[in-house]
Amino acid sequence: MPLYIDIVLRLLLWLLLAPLLPGIINKVKAWVAGRQGPPVLQLYYDLARLWRKSVVLSTLASPGFIIAPAVAWTAVVAAALLLPLAGAGAAFSFDGDVLLLIYFLALARFCTAWGAMETGSAFEGMGAAREVSFAVLAEIGIITAVLTLVVQSGSIALSSMFEPLPGPGAALLAVGLFIILLAENCRVPFDDPNTHLELTMIHEVMVLDHSGPPLAMILHGAAVKLMLFCIFLAQAVLPLSELPLLISVAALAGSVLLITVAVGLVESLTARLAFKRVPLLLTIGFLFCLFPLILTWMGES
């Protein structure tokens, strides 16, 4: 298969499937609460609606207000394309692409915060401040997890670094990455994607003033990011690349579904944390990623 067809197919897969995940989470939450809930495809309808709308612009905002969401979305999608998909591998790969992935995510975060600051609103400045301060701790967790995989596999290319860890290490890494996933994607207990209370929001408050297509890009980018973390988590923990192509892809899809349902269950059954305690839980997430690293090192020597 020529490279460009491979890339287009992967792109379509990411763009079209990602908005399914928030829909599944909402369905799980509704189901636990005994409600009917919005349709699983709700985010698709929302995106279509937002895409047709015009944009409301603040007189204070510079063009950065529009550019930032576009750059953020592109960065997240580019990061997603770097990620191998179980037996199907990655479209292209090079040494150190994992660092590029981390930087793409950081760029996306920077742009979201930039877009938020453009409005000059006290709310959004507050949200941006929260987002970047918590991100510092969340990024340490991701980097540690990546380091664990690098030490284990001896490779710094994404396509070859997802090798199974020994049992306990994999379990610890799974917990750590799951906590990081919740934080990075603004889910309960770190943030509440469904709240209407602007004073308590982190991610949501940064995008309060966005509308129309830029808002659609932000929402879609968030869905892609969620899928990216789910797939990363599944591959970091399960030895998927050793299975035959079809089975491994099916197993990957199954684990992504499982992780999504788990996110929904966490949201249904726990309250969100007070901001003061967020760093504590993020540190716990970091430690869960650190112990497998130590285990791997001990195993090496």
């Binding site: 609460a33 005994g34 006290a122 207990p189 469904n194 004073l199 308590t200 059954l269 309250a271 007070a274």
Partner: protein
């Protein structure tokens, strides 16, 4: 009781003649009131009555320990008078209100600005208290809010995530209810009373009916008093349940929030079963009640109440069993007991600071003279305590309702009320679900209403919310706000 001597003492929901209210010079009234407040009395109301030669100030105090109320008034004054507020912060809004309505300046008041004027001289247009400093930033919230709630403006002075000071500017819903009552009661008055605060319909309607009955000298039949007590507890159940659900929602704890939304509706439907309206409108009228609870509906009510109490108990168990929920409320939004006393908190907010303050217990009137329920108190003053008190009151209101419903009283539900006696004054306190609802009426020499003063519990408690926010993270404002759940329109009148 010697210190009480200067004030005229009366019991809740009773009438005195205007002439027998002791008159002092305004300086002496302020001094005497100050002494009374010092010795443990509470300011229920402080208002002006326009007169030919100026404005007469009237003080209504509650002496909870003695289960008695005290009233006194000043000679007509104009211009200014020495402020009570520096010594007794609980008077601060009352004095601002008197200044706004009658132009009397309380000399020494530290923060004199409008309470509920609209347009140019609205509270939100007056200068706000500001904290200076490089790290300090100001956050303005409202009057239009994210949820479907009433309008109010909140101005936070923050250092990072922590709130140093919160100032609340209301008045957006001022409808002129007190002004409309002058010369009344009018045909529309009863309906206006029922909508002072829509969620406190029963409490306000009961207070108004009690005032008119006291002014006319009528004693309501026991069965009507019994019905009013039942409606009052149903109102409490519905609102406390709704607020517990809202607290759960604000910390994203879905099980309780989803259940409580539904159970609140169930309790409202019980009120509808009683009188045909979910908020109890049209049930209470001066002289009694408009709807009786005959045998068949009584049994249905008991049956349904049993089911709903079981449901709410389950929802509360989920709430209190979840460590992630409890930790969100502990030591957040603390109001210290000394602060609560100083600013005159009432209702569950006061009881959550360990103050035993409940009109049903301290100043029983109507059915509560015969049957009472234990006062629910929790000492810590934080959101946890306010939620705990609400939760306890849900249990106790339920138990009280079962006791009352199983022993109905027979008799009429209405009695004719004679026209109000001229030159009289009546005071009625009712413990609504938010706290003490205080109505004071004054008649002229034709027996029409000369002045009618309404004090919703929110009037006392908004200051409590502002204090609770000091040193609290701004992200915890919504849960603090929900734990008080004060009324905007009850304040704005």
């Amino acid at each position: 009781m010697n210190t009480l001597a200067p004030f005229f003492l009366l019991t809740n929901a009773s009438r005195i003649s205007w002439a027998s209210v002791p008159v002092f010079s305004v300086t002496k009234l302020v001094r005497l009131t100050s002494e009374m407040l010092q010795s443990g009395a509470r300011l229920c109301s402080w208002f002006g009555v326009p007169d030919q030669d100026g404005t007469i100030l009237v003080a209504v105090l509650a002496l909870d320990a003695e289960s008695i109320l005290g009233v006194a008034r000043s000679e007509p004054v104009s211009g200014s008078y020495p402020s009570l507020t520096p010594a007794h912060p609980q008077a601060h809004l009352f004095e601002r209100e008197v200044w706004e309505q009658h132009g009397l300046v309380p000399v020494g008041h530290p923060w004199l600005k409008p309470v509920r004027h609209t347009c140019d001289n609205a509270p939100a247009n007056a200068p706000f208290f500001r904290v200076d400093g490089g790290e300090v930033h100001e956050v303005a919230v409202g009057p239009v809010h994210a949820g479907v709630i009433e309008p109010g403006h909140f101005r936070f002075q923050c250092a990072g995530e922590d709130v140093l000071h919160l100032e609340i500017a209301l008045g957006y819903q001022h409808r002129g209810i007190e002004e409309a009552l002058a010369g009344g009661p009018h045909p529309a008055t009863m309906h206006q009373m029922e909508t002072i605060a829509g969620d406190t319909t029963i409490a306000h309607a009961t207070a108004y009916a009690s005032v008119l009955e006291a002014l006319g000298g009528a004693e309501v039949p026991l069965r009507a008093q019994w019905l009013r007590a039942i409606a009052l507890e149903l109102e409490r159940l519905a609102n406390h349940t709704g607020d517990m659900g809202a607290l759960a929602l604000d910390v994203a704890f879905l099980p309780t929030s989803a259940a409580c939304g539904k159970i609140r509706g169930d309790f409202l439907n019980l009120t509808a079963l009683l009188c045909g309206n979910r908020f109890g409108r049209g049930l209470i009228r001066p002289g009694g009640c408009m709807h009786d609870l005959e045998e068949k509906r009584l049994l249905t009510l008991i049956e349904k109440l049993k089911t709903h109490m079981g449901d709410v108990e389950q929802a509360m168990a989920w709430f209190w069993d979840a460590a992630s929920v409890r930790v969100r409320f502990r030591n957040v939004g603390v109001v210290y007991p000394s602060q609560a006393t100083d600013i005159g908190l009432v209702g569950p907010a006061a009881r959550a600071c360990g103050l035993v303050r409940d009109v049903r217990f301290d100043h029983p009137a109507g059915w509560h003279r015969f049957s009472q329920t234990p006062v629910a108190v929790w000492p810590s003053g934080d959101i946890f305590a306010r939620a705990r008190v609400r939760s306890l009151e849900i249990q106790r209101s339920g138990r009280y309702l079962f006791e009352q419903l199983e022993a109905p009283v027979d008799g009429e539900i209405q009695t004719p009320v004679p026209a109000p006696l001229p030159e009289s004054m009546a005071v009625a306190l009712v413990e609504g679900w938010r706290g003490e609802v205080c109505h004071v009426a004054l008649t002229d020499h034709y027996g029409r209403l000369r002045r009618y003063k309404i004090t919703d519990p929110s009037f006392h408690n908004w200051t409590g919310l502002a204090l609770a926010l000091r040193g609290t993270a701004i992200s915890d404002f919504p849960i603090c706000n929900k734990s008080f759940n004060l009324s905007y329109c009850g304040f704005d009148l």
